[in-house]
Structure formats: C-alpha cells, structure tokens
C-alpha cells in the first residue's frame, strides 16, 4: 500500500513536469532562426533561390510544430501507460513490473528533455557555423 502511494505521488510529479515542459516549449513553436532574409540559417543572400526558400521555410516550421506536438502527445501517453503499469504492479505486489515502469518513465523523461533542450541548441550551433561560399 505504501509502495502504491509512493508510486502514485511519483507519477503525479512526472505528469506535472511533463505538462510544464510541454507548455513552455509549445509556446516556442518555431525552430530558432536568425531572422535573415532567406529564412533559417541565412548567412547570405540566396538570390533567385530565396523564392524557393520562402516557400520551404513555412513548411519546415509547420513540420517542426507538428513533430513537437506529436512528441508531446506520445510522451504523455507513454507516461500515462507507465504510470498505470507501475500502479498495477505496486497494487499486485509485482516489483519487477513496477521497476520496469519507473525505468520506462525515466527513459521517456530523458528522451523528451534531450529533444527539447538539445535540438534547439544544435540548430543554433549549425546556424552559427553555416559557411559562406568558398569562392
């Protein structure tokens, strides 16, 4: 009974963390850009190709928003599934099931945090190192 209470509290804490992280990053729906004339990572003028980039840029932003939304949905459902599994394991005394559920939740949290924190930094790193034409 005590294990089940501890697990339910842990699951609620994880749900609160998920919802906070997802609400913060859902507001930031666009990938980082330097606001240049050609869109993302526009280190220089794309000339006649800027019309193409102006068509592709909004598509890429929409794809990013869609991917982030889908990631949030899948991770929330996964967290819910593992919470249920852990609660069921704690209720029936199956410690293996409970520990698998805890490991699963920790793995999900790590993956989502890695995606939401590292990917924008990788994008900024790529944009900052975008090379000019060598000729």
């Amino acid at each position: 009974m005590l294990k089940m209470k501890v697990f339910v509290v842990l699951a609620m804490l994880v749900a609160v963390v998920f919802s906070n992280v997802s609400s913060v990053h859902a507001q930031d729906e666009n990938p980082p850009s330097d606001g240049g004339g050609g869109g993302m990572c526009a280190g220089g003028d794309a000339g006649p190709f800027s019309a193409v980039m102006q068509k592709i840029d909004p598509l890429a932003r929409n794809a990013w928003t869609f991917g982030v939304g889908l990631l949030i949905i899948v991770s929330m459902l996964g967290g819910l599934y593992y919470s249920l599994q852990g609660a069921g394991g704690a209720a029936t005394g199956a410690s293996g099931m409970t520990s698998k559920a805890i490991i699963g939740i920790v793995g999900l949290v790590l993956l989502v945090l890695m995606t939401f924190l590292l990917l924008p930094e990788f994008a900024k790193m790529l944009c900052s190192s975008a090379p000019a034409a060598p000729w």
Binding site: P31, G38, G39, M40, C41, A42, G43, G44, D45, A46, G47, P48, F49, S50, V52, M53, I56, D57, A60, A63, W64, G67, V68, L70, L71, V74, S75, L77, G78, Y81, G104, G107, L108, L111, V112, M114, T115, L119, F122, A123, L126, C127, S129, A130, P131, A132, A133, P134, W135
Partner: protein, 160 residues
C-alpha cells in the same frame, strides 16, 4: 567573358546558400523525427528502435557537421591548388575564372551529395552517407586533375 563567368559564379554562390539552408532544415527535422521514433520505441518497450533512432540522430548530425565544417575546407584546398597552377600567358585570367567555375560546380556537387546523405540517413538507409563521402573524393580528384592539366593545356596551346 569574365563578366559572364562572374555572373555564373554569383548564381552558384546563391545556390550554395540555399543548399546550406536546406541541409540545416533537414538535419533538424531529421533529428526531431528520430527523437519521435525513439520516444515511440520507449513507449512500446522495444529497445531496438530506440538504439537505431539514437544512432541515426548522431549520424544525421555528423553529416550536417561534415557539410558545414569539413566540406568548405576541402573546397578551399581544392580551389587553392587550381588557382596556383591555372594561370599562365595571355589567357591566364580566363583560365583562372574557368577553374573557379569548375571548383564552384564541384563544391555544389559535394553539397548535393551531403544533402542526399542527410536524407538517406534520416530514412534509415546507410548508402547515402557513404555516397556523400565518395562523391566528395571524386570531386577533389577532379579538381586535382584540373590543377595538373591546366598548365599542360596552356603549354600545348602555346600560351605559356
């Protein structure tokens, strides 16, 4: 003639900028897609898709960094070897401009191969990344051949 080549070089410069932007977009979206695959694999409890997805994320980022950091250095090295040997005699300006054009087209070819490598790594096929590196090697060898052939051609035509 030189102004025509300069106009062409300008267009190729714009194409380079556009492709750099496209590669950046594909790298970021590819990593997001693989993160989604990893999350789904974690949700379902299958470790293999998670490991494959994380490996693909690293691969996509590696190709992006190769295109952004290593490729310009390779192009600079190839074009500097052409510039040293390309000019002699009264046609030296035109020869140097043409050599620059050859270098620019080669650079775009390497960048296109990097783009294909990024996309193929994103979808899980391993051949694109190897193709990108092989094509870069082909282009470099071509540039080195041009740097060797240009003075020979100049001597043959009697301009040197």
């Amino acid at each position: 003639m030189n102004s025509a080549i300069e106009i062409l070089l300008g267009i190729l410069r714009n194409a380079w900028q556009a492709m750099i932007g496209l590669i950046a977009i594909m790298v970021i979206l590819g990593m997001l897609y693989k993160a989604l695959v990893a999350t789904g694999g974690t949700f379902a409890g299958f470790p293999q898709p998670v490991a494959q997805a994380i490996g693909s994320m690293v691969g996509v980022l590696s190709i992006g960094l190769y295109a952004f950091i290593i490729l310009p250095a390779l192009v600079n090295a190839g074009m500097s070897s052409i510039n040293v040997s390309g000019g002699c005699g009264p046609l030296s300006d035109i020869v140097l401009a043409v050599c620059k054009l050859i270098g620019a087209i080669g650079a775009l070819r390497m960048l296109r191969a990097s783009f294909v490598g990024t996309v193929s790594t994103m979808v899980g096929s391993g051949g694109g990344a190897a193709g990108a590196i092989i094509e870069s090697g082909e282009v470099l060898i071509g540039m080195l051949l041009v740097s060797a052939a240009a003075p020979v051609a100049g001597a043959f035509m009697g301009t040197c």
